[in-house]
């Protein structure tokens, strides 16, 4: 049975202890927490008046304003709700890259640590966390719940997750969106390899459902630098039939150009859909990456990306 220390180093945890996961957008919840809730309650802090529309509860009418203005206004209150955090971990074949190199940390392992870390942080601040793993379809789901004991389920699922086959992010995102009944924060941990328009459509779907979407794009340094020199056969991790024997030095520039264009397109698309894209490479410590992300996130309105 997996243990939280398999994924998280106590040192790393202590480093992140002072950070809180803050949803930049207002999310729904049912118990009070650190997050603003769009639900206007009775008791808490007055927020605004709003013109009455048929269907509003009569008891929420502000009679004092009616007396002064002869118009119906409804009182709205701001209530602090708890955060519902949905962690979506990409377990496709391409995520397994890097398991046999010197760093020894595959992208999936790195993503798992990020997921574990976020889950731990959320549960610690009494928010509820759920985890979904997927490749071309949803593979396992742990529904969002609060409470310290929920860590166990998350960790268990992370422990059993292995890299699978092909990924189709757009399709999976469309599949997942209806399952997230309440609004919350959607954290996607993936390398985002695939058809960019399809991925962006999936992200737009999340956005449309009023989720606060964050994408942790996990890179392996090899994928960014393409440091190969000798003749190499590249075997596709997601499709066993795809093999290319090439002289990588010859291809490097074209590959890097292609990569740059791909990243630009993805970033631009994410901006359009108000999705926060946070690229990270497996050679930098995940705690540090996460800390910088959380620190930036604490300052509302500051976009967090590299």
């Amino acid at each position: 049975m997996a243990h939280i220390t398999d994924f998280l180093d106590p040192g790393d945890l202590s480093r992140l202890a002072n950070h809180q996961v803050l949803a930049r957008r207002v999310v729904e919840g049912f118990c009070s927490g650190l997050h603003r809730s769009p639900h206007k309650g009775f008791s808490v802090e007055f927020k605004q008046h709003r013109a009455y529309t048929p269907g509003d509860e009569i008891r929420r009418l502000d009679w004092k304003v009616f007396a002064k203005t002869d118009r119906f206004y409804v009182r709205e209150y701001e209530e602090e709700t708890n955060l519902r955090c949905h962690l979506l971990l990409d377990a496709s074949g391409s995520m397994s890259y890097g398991s046999d190199d010197s760093i020894g940390l595959s992208k999936l392992a790195y993503g798992s640590r990020i997921a574990a870390c976020l889950a731990y942080l959320c549960l610690r601040q009494t928010d509820s966390v759920g985890l979904t793993t997927f490749d071309s379809a949803v593979r396992s789901v742990v529904p969002p719940r609060g409470g310290a004991s929920h860590t166990r389920q998350i960790i268990d699922l992370l422990g059993t997750t292995k890299a699978g086959s092909e990924s189709d992010l757009g399709k999976v995102f469309h599949e997942i969106t209806p399952q997230l009944k309440k609004r919350g924060m959607v954290v996607i941990i993936s390398d985002c390899f695939g058809n960019i328009p399809s991925i962006l459509k999936g992200l737009a779907h999340f956005n449309h459902a009023k989720h606060d979407v964050v994408v942790f794009q996990v890179w392996h340094p090899d994928e960014i630098e393409f440091p190969f020199r000798k003749w190499t056969r590249f075997d596709c991790l997601e499709n066993a039939d795809l093999r290319h024997t090439v002289d990588p030095a010859h291809l490097r520039e074209a590959y890097l150009d292609n990569l740059r264009q791909y990243r630009e397109d993805l970033l631009k698309g994410c901006h359009q859909h108000r999705v926060q894209l946070f690229p990270m490479t497996t050679d930098e410590p995940y705690a540090q990456s996460l800390a910088s992300f959380l620190a930036a996130r604490g300052k509302v309105g500051v976009p967090v990306h590299l």
Binding site: W231, C236, H244, H250, A254
Partner: protein, 797 residues
């Protein structure tokens, strides 16, 4: 197209190295399980053909570099524009178009087509399907501006002296060397007799070569053109220059072109045509018609060793090759040693194209080596052959001791009487005719001085050292002391001849001198065979070919035959025991196969065993005419061995034997031209000798030690050189064309050979070396490869 260093063309195989490296790398790839396949896939999908093209271009350039480098090192020569175009320009242009295909998008089809056209043209041109455009326009500067490798074949045979041909040939060489290009290399090969270069290696120093050439003399034997050509081809094949030429300077006498070996000519022609850069041939004729020539054809002396006062007969043959007739007005003179006053002269008549003989007799008053010259006194076209020489040695007497085992008071009854008579005929005749006075100084006397002693006196004799030879005739036995003394005498270089007879005790000889004794006897004896009384029972000496020098004169039947003598009784010799002894030689056998004359080398001397009697007891040989030469030959052989000839033809080695005691002295040889060489005695088999093989120049060679001249030897020029008949023009041309095509003939008879050559040479053109172009191309390709490696990879995304 040809190559100056043909073997280095194989270096082009190194083009396989980049190919092998490429294939090796392709097979030794690394496998990476790759996630971002979609990024790679799109690059590959769009650029697969471009990548392949770029890799092909790089591979072609990498393979082309070693090929071109090998061609540059092999010093490729293109003879005309045609090969230059098809083998160098078009392939490079095709490569250029291929590179343009890789770098362009819209026009790549045009470049590709042009590339294909170039390749097609190269292929068709190489296979000969395209017209030989540019084949006639030679790629070269004028001949005079091109450095050349030249071999000048100079006929320095004796006939070149006639009508000043040799001087004209030397003028030609001087002119050639004066105008020699700075980087040219030239060899002069002397053709007379054995072809020999003036310098061992081609030289670029015209002054040194001119100096040597001007000092050359035409005194060689008949020109050996084929062997000279063979040698010159080997020399020219190593020539470092593109322009190669073999120039033959000769008088082209009939004799020079006689007896050409067809197979040798064929072999030479094939060799010339197989040469990658075959030389140009130029034959310059310096031989004017000249027919008036007389020569001393032969000088024959009766013996090459003669005693003081002995008459020596000199037979001189004079030949007239011309049409002039001499009616009792042709003077022939005889000289001795240096050109002092003539010692004898004769006047003879000689008709046109005829020969005559003149005989002279002369006797010498002093001992030592001598040379006799005969000279015909006439002014003709070739004065160099009017004198001819012969060498001989005048000696004191040989002292021989004859030991008679069965002496008798009666004349010719003693065992050594016949022998003494045969060895000293003059003395014997004088004794019989006692009125005759003793010979005066310089008068003829016996070469051998023989003293005969009975065996009893011999036993008392104190010293044998004054004798050269000891003949033991029919000795019963000897005291051990005397026998030992004889062994020591032989060991020190003396000769012993043991002759059989009725007194001889075979057992004593076997016991004392046989295997169990001192092993002095040449062969063990087993008794005697034959019957004296039966007239019909006898054997004879087998008249086979005598290899041994002591008997070789009997190979000529004019000197008599040993086989005519009847041997009635002889010793049986046990040959089986000495068959493997290299010191023992059987000189003669009987017709029944048994040995009759056996010699054995013992120490420094020789002991010889004659198996029958030396008088008439057992054989009638002493009564035969061959007895005298037989005993004289055996005696002189045993006394001083056989001497090598002192008069030899040119190019035959001259040899002089020396005694072992004189082997440490310093010897020098004076050549006919006055120069001198040091000679070192060598040991060959059992004797020391001085040998000199470079007898190219005819004349007198003197061998001297530190004190005096010890030998005079004469080297004769070939008599064929005296025949001055000019070869007909068409024969010269047909002989030349049998060897090589396009032989240029130049007439140098009027002394204008060099000018004609120069005029001809300025019109010639030779191919062009391409190593500079190839090297530049290689550097260019390396540069292009570096650029391309940087430029390639900018693929479509």
């Amino acid at each position: 197209m040809s190559f100056l260093n043909g073997a280095l063309v194989l270096g082009a195989l190194s083009a396989l190295i980049p190919l092998v490296i490429h294939l090796f790398n392709r097979n030794r790839f690394k496998v990476i399980k790759w996630g971002a396949s979609h990024l790679l896939e799109s690059v590959l999908r769009k650029n697969r053909k471009q990548i392949q093209l770029e890799q092909w271009i790089i591979l072609i350039i990498r393979c082309a570099i070693p090929i071109l480098l090998a061609l540059a090192l092999a010093r490729m020569v293109v003879m005309d524009w045609n090969s230059f175009l098809f083998f160098l320009v078009l392939p490079l242009v095709a490569l250029l178009f291929l590179i343009l295909v890789a770098f362009t998008k819209k026009t790549r089809l045009i470049w590709g087509l042009l590339c294909l056209v170039c390749l097609l043209a190269t292929g068709l041109g190489a296979l000969g399907f395209l017209p030989d455009w540019g084949k006639d326009s030679k790629l070269s500067a004028a001949s005079g501006d091109v450095p050349a490798s030249t071999v000048i074949l100079l006929d320095d045979s004796l006939s070149m002296n006639a009508t000043g041909s040799f001087a004209k040939a030397q003028d030609f060489i001087s002119g050639f060397l004066e105008n020699m290009h700075l980087q040219s290399e030239t060899s002069v090969l002397r053709l007379g007799g054995i072809a020999r270069p003036v310098f061992d290696k081609p030289t670029s120093d015209p002054d040194a070569l001119r100096l040597r050439s001007e000092n050359l003399q035409a005194e060689g034997d008949r020109m050996n053109l084929l062997s000279g050509l063979d040698q010159s081809l080997s020399m020219i094949a190593e020539g470092k220059n593109l322009k190669r030429e073999i120039i033959l300077l000769s008088d082209f006498r009939k004799q020079d072109l006689l007896g050409w070996d067809e197979t040798a000519v064929d072999a030479l022609r094939e060799r010339i045509s197989a040469m990658p850069n075959s030389p140009a041939f130029t034959w310059v004729d310096f031989g004017k018609d000249s027919s008036e020539n007389l020569s001393v054809e032969k000088v024959v002396i009766s013996s090459q060793t003669v005693g003081i006062g002995h008459p020596i007969l000199v037979r001189v043959t004079v030949r007239n090759y011309g049409q002039e007739s001499f009616e009792g007005n042709l003077q022939v003179k005889l000289f001795v040693d240096q050109n002092e006053k003539a010692i004898d002269e004769a006047v003879v008549s000689l008709g046109p194209v005829a020969s005559t003989q003149v005989a002279f007799t002369h006797h010498f008053e002093t001992a030592g080596p001598k040379v006799i010259h005969a000279e015909v006194q006439v002014a003709d076209d070739l004065p160099q052959d009017n004198r001819r020489s012969a060498a001989l040695n005048v000696i004191e007497q040989i002292k021989v001791l004859l030991v008679d085992g069965d002496p008798s008071e009666e004349w010719l009854r003693g065992d050594t009487d016949f022998l003494k008579l045969a060895l000293t005929p003059f003395e014997e005749s004088r004794e019989k005719n006692s009125k005759k006075p003793l010979p005066a100084k310089g008068e003829m006397k016996d070469l051998i001085r023989a003293a005969s002693v009975p065996v009893d006196e011999f036993r008392k004799l104190h010293s044998l050292s004054e004798y050269s030879l000891l003949i033991l005739a029919n000795l019963q036995n000897l005291g051990s002391e005397k026998a030992k003394e004889i062994e020591v005498f032989t060991e020190n270089g003396g000769g012993v001849l043991i002759c059989a007879g009725n007194q001889m005790k075979v057992d004593w000889y076997n016991d004392f001198w046989g295997f169990n004794g001192s092993n002095f006897l040449p062969i063990p004896l087993k008794g005697t065979q034959g019957q004296l009384l039966n007239e019909l029972s006898y054997s004879k000496i087998s008249s086979s070919f005598f290899e041994h020098p002591a008997l070789s004169m009997f190979n000529d039947p004019r000197n008599g035959s040993l086989a005519e003598a009847q041997i009635k009784k002889w010793l049986i010799m046990d040959e089986s025991k000495v068959r493997n002894d290299p010191a023992v030689t059987v000189l003669a056998r009987l017709t029944n196969g048994q040995p009759i004359l056996v010699e054995k080398k013992f120490g420094k001397g020789v002991v010889m065993l004659w198996g029958s009697s030396i008088d008439t007891d057992w054989t009638n040989l002493p009564a035969r005419p061959s007895y005298l030469p037989f005993t004289q030959q055996i005696t002189s052989y045993l006394a001083e061995k056989v001497l090598p000839p002192r008069t030899v033809e040119a190019q035959m080695p001259i040899i002089h034997f020396i005694n072992e005691g004189a082997k440490d002295a310093e010897y020098s040889l004076t050549l006919p031209d006055g120069s001198s060489r040091k000679l070192i005695p060598r040991k060959r088999k059992d004797r020391y000798l001085l040998e000199f093989t470079d007898t190219r120049s005819p004349g007198t060679y003197l061998i001297s030690d530190s004190e005096k001249v010890v030998a005079k030897l004469v080297v004769l020029s070939s008599i064929s050189e005296s025949i001055l008949d000019k070869a007909p023009e068409d024969q010269i041309v047909s002989n030349a064309s049998a060897l090589a095509k396009d032989v240029v003939h130049i007439d140098g008879r009027e002394g204008k050979g060099w000018m004609s050559y120069l005029t001809m040479d300025t019109r010639r053109k030779f191919g062009r070396e391409t190593w500079q172009i190839l090297l530049t191309t290689v550097l260019g390709l390396i540069f292009v490869e570096i650029i391309l490696l940087r430029k390639f990879g900018g693929l479509v995304r």
